[in-house]
Symmetry: C2
Subunit: 323 residues, 2 copies
């Protein structure tokens, strides 16, 4: 990536900012586009001290065309990630995860049609699994508006690849954790909630029986997957990006309490009504396609990744304060 | 349906108006919602003389709430159907097939949460088949924006069923033909183009080699499928609605020329660039799920359906005039 011009949308957010740190470290010229929509997790703090330009803009707006001029790589991570919020305001979610991407793809096609585009989708597009592990041929039956909108955004990338020769690849990410994730919201998945509780020595509340299983991915592994997905033969493809090991929520919560060593413990409670209806049971990704075709595999095991995560937040305690 | 209050969105269009004719004939109280968007195929002529009310409105607008009060059945057929148009104006397609349906579902949930909702999706959501015939577990990989937007609209119906208990069913329709289809556009699929040419004794131009196969459905069979899909145990399901017989485009074109008897003939030519990129090869639906669960099966064979279609247009020649 040394000398490459990289545009990172959502570059002030959790995964985006980790990618930016990596790209700058590799000597890339990095241009960030981020709308800084309140509650979305983006923060200028996430790229403190880095040599990257920042355009505060919606990816659907015309002004992002200037940022795309001369781009070699476009990492398209912008989006709304809260499943709960998508049910409270479906239209806003569809605007941000579908309509904005439609406009963005038109802009990329016009301004930088030769750029390599890597887009982040989510394993939530599958919904409740019909079989485990879930590979890319599993039907996509999302259980919430966020999953519907993210899938549409992903499929638009595929359409622009097949219809216009745009060089896109989409990655369906499993649950991701690590440094620079927003910890002050209960609406961004279970991992940041667990991590916050563990860091504060508080109770981790598990819904259901805690036996639902997930494969979780340390953010550095996601960054490596995005870079690997730039391989030329990945163009036009959609890949699962998950872990080979999975754990029950109970195991993850107890592991975190133990690592934090602050006396936090786990309590199991029934599902709250609105969460329960979108629960999907256990999930495990089958990421053998990206392993076989592109050579990417996760390298960070959960205990190690969580320990590194806790260390980061101890050194950057402002993440625990409400914004 | 005698005495039932039925709302039909897109009720002035091809399939919608055929449904309205049927429902009125059964003694239902029919309320039509249709935006009469130019080039979409809706026309007041399609319901001439029928006792049905018409609200000219976008299904995403607040005013449709009044029309939904007291509805027993909602047949939600509104949408943009042109694949070509969706590539020329992706945003308009996403507005009409996704955003409007999101707003409409919110209105249904608020005004008539107990209504039975039957939504028409399309087999285009599958894209290029990985195997034939295509059943509902086949991955959905649409090849154009219209397919992406229709799938998102369909999945929103499923989300509202599982999350809010809305009583929705979606039908993925194969290529449909019959009376009241708009014949004056080249952008609405091959069947109306073939029918118009046959009726005018003109050349039917086939792209590729003409050997791509399709299962085609007479519109009366679609109307029967929509009524069958009102069965209580169909709630929350998505069904393929296609035919058990399939034909090559060449066979269909030659059949039409023969039936019309006006000297039209078939010419095979290479794909035009923009059509070729979204061609999906042969397609055949597997509709055994709706047959097994709801008891619907097509009853009109192609030769019979096409003959009835030609008869209709001969008796209603204004369909052949540009609007």
């Amino acid at each position: 990536m040394n000398g490459a011009v990289c545009v990172v949308t959502g570059g002030l957010g959790f995964i985006g900012s980790n990618l930016v740190h990596h790209l700058v470290g590799q000597g890339a010229t990095v241009r960030i586009i981020d709308a800084l929509i309140p509650d979305h997790g983006g923060s200028l703090h996430n790229v403190d001290g880095l040599a990257a330009t920042v355009a505060v803009a919606d990816i659907g707006s015309a002004e992002v065309g200037d940022v795309l001029v001369g781009a070699d790589f476009v990492f398209n991570l912008a989006g709304q990630v809260s499943h709960i919020a998508s049910m409270h305001d479906p239209e806003a979610d569809l605007q941000r995860n579908t309509m904005s991407h439609s406009r963005f793809l038109e802009t990329v096609r016009r301004v930088s049609p030769g750029a390599r585009v890597v887009h982040t989708s989510t394993r939530q597009v599958y919904g409740r699994p019909m079989r485990l592990p879930v590979d890319e041929t599993h039907p996509a039956n999302p259980v919430d508006v966020n999953g519907v909108a993210k899938l549409a955004g992903e499929q638009l990338h595929s359409v622009y690849a097949s219809a216009y020769g745009l060089r896109t690849t989409s990655l369906r990410l499993t649950n991701v954790y690590g440094p620079r994730q927003r910890l002050d919201s209960d609406e961004l998945g279970f991992l940041p909630v667990f991590i916050r509780a563990a860091l504060q020595g508080e109770v981790i509340r598990l819904f259901g029986d805690g036996l639902q299983r997930r494969d979780c991915l340390f953010v550095d592994d996601v960054v490596e997957a995005m870079l690997a997905a730039c391989a030329e033969h990945a163009v036009g493809h959609v890949y699962n990006v998950g872990h080979t090991e999975d754990h029950s929520l109970l195991e993850i919560a107890e592991l975190l309490c133990g690592l934090a060593g602050l006396g936090g413990h786990v309590v199991v409670t029934p599902w709250p009504e609105e969460h329960g209806r979108v629960d999907i049971g256990s999930f495990r990704s089958d990421s053998s396609r990206i392993a076989n075709e592109v050579g990417w595999r996760p390298t960070t095991m959960l205990a190690d990744g969580l320990a590194r995560t806790l260390t980061f937040y101890r050194e950057h305690p402002w993440f625990l304060s409400p914004r």
